[in-house]
Amino acid sequence: MSEKTVSETKEFWRWKEYRWHDESMDWKSAAIISAGVDIGSVSSQAVILLDGKLYAFSNQRTGFDSPESANNAITWAMENTGMSLDDIHYTVGTGYGRVNVPFADKAITEIACHARGGNMMYGNTVRTILDMGGQDCKAIRCDERGKVEAFLMNDKCAAGTGRGMEVFADLLSIPIEEVGDISLTVEEEPDPVSSTCVVFAKSEASALLREGWPKNKVLAAYCSAMAHRVVTLLERIDVVKDFAITGGIAKNRGIVSRIEGELKLKSLKTDYDSQIAGALGAALFGQALEKKRRK
């Protein structure tokens, strides 16, 4: 028996992990230092706020061990700042793994955190937030203070989530960061794939590739099916403007522009990283709860 040497596997779904902190700020002079840690199904973020202002964040993939992922996320956010866990006054955990954040003072659901974080990221005019996460999709309507007025979450099916996009990135050997832009290069928008289920959509796409469809057309067909899918979810909570998208998929222009097209509504832009919305909201709750504790 002869074996073929496995050539280097390329993981097209793998996105770059990163961290950031504001060097112009001095954490030692802050009255309240709060942190939010969002342990999602796919990615983990940690955000540190100084008196409610963004100081540092990190964004990396979640491992199989939630407490470890939480530790890694906060440690990386604090890197090169000289700060340690003991310097943080209040930490809020959120996301799937929120009950597994060992150093958190409180756990708050990601629905509440996304509304609060979205309110800061996109300004207080935002009323409808669509969070497209790694393995679920949430539609949230909130008021001008970022308080939830209605929400709906679908975590039973991967259609309309980052996981679906990862499957297609791998199928077509296109890096995940590029799939959105490539899907927009089609001259004419094809019919969406008929299956919303990721597994069946993948089979359907394989058949289309065999028929000779180019990659961009297959991606366009999948992106529009995904957009349609989340728009039906959104409609259940009534879309009120302003509208914003958070989560990893907010970085995918192919999906965003198709959702905007179906809703006939533009989504807000932000200078913040769309993936930190949950952790940012958690840190803002931490800030408010610490204030309450000191009273």
Partner: protein, 95 residues
């Protein structure tokens, strides 16, 4: 807050909506439901609310289509026990 618990899958949309502005956390739905779909507790989506509120249990959220089926016969459907028991009229079903 209109809290929608449930899911969408290939067979349809299955959501129980609890209007938390109307719900007073009395727990009548908890005793009325034969499937154990509800429980009362802190509002998981509003950390500043102090009153209790009804929620769909974590365990039931992804299977309410099946748990609720016995209360939803094809014809001569009676009022749903949870909806009938809720005095403030805070519960509704999407299907």
């Amino acid at each position: 807050m209109k809290a929608n618990y449930g899911y969408t899958d290939g067979s349809g949309d299955f959501f129980i909506t609890i209007d938390t502005d109307k719900c007073d956390g009395c727990g009548d739905c908890v005793t009325a439901c034969p499937g154990g779909v509800f429980e009362t507790g802190e509002d998981p989506h509003d950390p500043f609310r102090e009153e209790l509120v009804a929620v769909v249990t974590e365990e039931q959220r992804k299977k309410i289509k099946y748990t609720c089926a016995p209360c939803k016969p094809d014809h001569d459907r009676p009022d749903l026990p949870c909806v009938a028991a809720c005095k403030p009229d805070a519960i509704s079903h999407s299907w």
